[in-house]
Symmetry: C2
Subunit: 374 residues, 2 copies
Amino acid sequence: MNPLLTIEACEGQARCGRLRTAHGELETPAFMPVGTYGTVKAMTPEELQGLGAQIILGNTFHLLLRPGPRVIAAHGGLHGFMHWQGPILTDSGGFQVFSLKSLRKLTEEGVRFRSPVDGSEVRLTPEDSMDMQLTLRSDIAMALDDCTEHPATEAQARASMERSMRWAERSYRHYYAGTPPGGLFGIVQGGMHVNLRLASLETLLRLEWPGLAVGGLAVGESEEERLAVLESLVPHMPADRPRYLMGVGRPEDIVAAVLRGIDMFDCVMPTRHARNGHLFTAAGVINIRNSIHQEDLGPVDATCACYTCRNYSRAYLRHLDRCNEILGARLNTIHNLHFYLDLMRAMRAAIRAGTLSTWAAQFLRSRRGTDAVA
Amino acid sequence: MNPLLTIEACEGQARCGRLRTAHGELETPAFMPVGTYGTVKAMTPEELQGLGAQIILGNTFHLLLRPGPRVIAAHGGLHGFMHWQGPILTDSGGFQVFSLKSLRKLTEEGVRFRSPVDGSEVRLTPEDSMDMQLTLRSDIAMALDDCTEHPATEAQARASMERSMRWAERSYRHYYAGTPPGGLFGIVQGGMHVNLRLASLETLLRLEWPGLAVGGLAVGESEEERLAVLESLVPHMPADRPRYLMGVGRPEDIVAAVLRGIDMFDCVMPTRHARNGHLFTAAGVINIRNSIHQEDLGPVDATCACYTCRNYSRAYLRHLDRCNEILGARLNTIHNLHFYLDLMRAMRAAIRAGTLSTWAAQFLRSRRGTDAVA
């Protein structure tokens, strides 16, 4: 099976292991920095590697519009185009299309929408999404799903989930019709309705997915709703296959999901927050734009070993941000990605040591109410 | 004398040597990347070093406004603030103040202007400029000069030059009143009038400057005017001290000036051009935004050994530029700075080998009419 998961340690529901792909192995639980347009914003591939990123995510929707499939195909896929030699997961484009709302038209065939780039009409069916992801030659592709709105009644969530299941099968048939370069993950939908989530999983399991994702979360639900879905769903997901929670999230959300058996994460938060001057620290998020940092000679986080914290003061980072300097976005991104990737390293080590639950309790306690500290 | 120049090879008027400063040596002829706000835009100090930059320029005017002297002083100077451990030259701020035009008021005392950042009134006298440069603790500081407008009548140019000479002496007295961390360069003015240029030099030479600059060029004059000034002036400048041509310029301008005995250069062109998608190549400047690069799998310059050319296609760089990606500005800047710094390496080697004139003739021929090729 490609990719292939090997579980090496467990603690409660949490697991630690390795996922083997055509472009190398990654350790799980894993965080995937988001490389929307064929670049993790502000970073080179070598810098990402240096930070410990073992897999990145590419956005099919964005790459379909710019530069489009022809240019990527000419480079032999996304790896060659962007000079990243490690594993790549691509999403299906569905999530972005659905967030276009009024600009899209949904039918059983798929979605049609106006390109936000040039206004032209673009079609995205399950087959189109697979073709684009095959062109990208990602190591892990995602089935096209119908992203259930939130909140949704049970009837709405059911109809949406059932369409997702039909699209999942079409995705699967199309992706595996040839000799794909990677593996395709199915996506469990069903909104906040546990019965629908379980029905979705049961439907998906009629096919041999090398991994499964939980979609339709991080859409505005409460933490309780999200954790309730995970707690009822994840124990039923195949233990021998990777479980990917899409689009989540804050560090504390990731920790909570690892405790509940999730292996893979992606989120724009570390990179986007960085460009907005929001920096993660052991004591919570600081806003580097705040004037209290104006003459602060100390690093962002005295406990952090990243390049930014080893070499630059808060005052300098605040200055770069005020002057809209590219280096500011870079140094902030390095710091935030280091924070996330270090968090994953710490959790993997804790699972291996059997200390995750104590580690997590302490981590979550230290971060309570620390959002936007200063 | 600090900094101290050692000339190691000459060919015609051209010289190759080493300039020793408090933060290490640099080889001449040298190009100084411009770090306006305490950062060479888009680059880390380590990347600059990797490209072979041996000295950078900081802008006193910009740093005076943001973050201001207090913050820099708290970091012990500009080196500590920006994490660059090599030599730094700072300009006086004069050039930027004069380009404010209607927002400034010029008197014998100095200049007063409205801060473009917050509208407050700021004063810049020779003493103020020295104080700020002493706070920056640059290895090479520049005297405050009155930047002669172009074109200027002889009377205008004389009055302006004479004020510059009075300010130069005030700069010198103030800078050397204590124990400065570096050395102060005087600036020859006089517009396009050779007699005024020689008079300016004669006046300056009454004081012991460790180096001299040619100011008031790169202000819109023709190439002939600029070279005429250099050819009449440079042979009279002390051979044992570094000669710095301020704000010049295009690669061909730098080569022409090295042939005429100039040792040091600064220009925003490689970094600014990079952010606008204009990339230097052996065959001329290309515009990466041009649609002919859309599917071009080749590097910017097949003869170039920079990180960008070794790893990325023109198509990818064009894509990054179109998507306004930070990585695009970075990769372009790496390439352009490599081009400039490599040019300086090539000229230093040619002077040592006694082949500069043939090298330069070929270089200038290959670039004739190559601006904005594609």
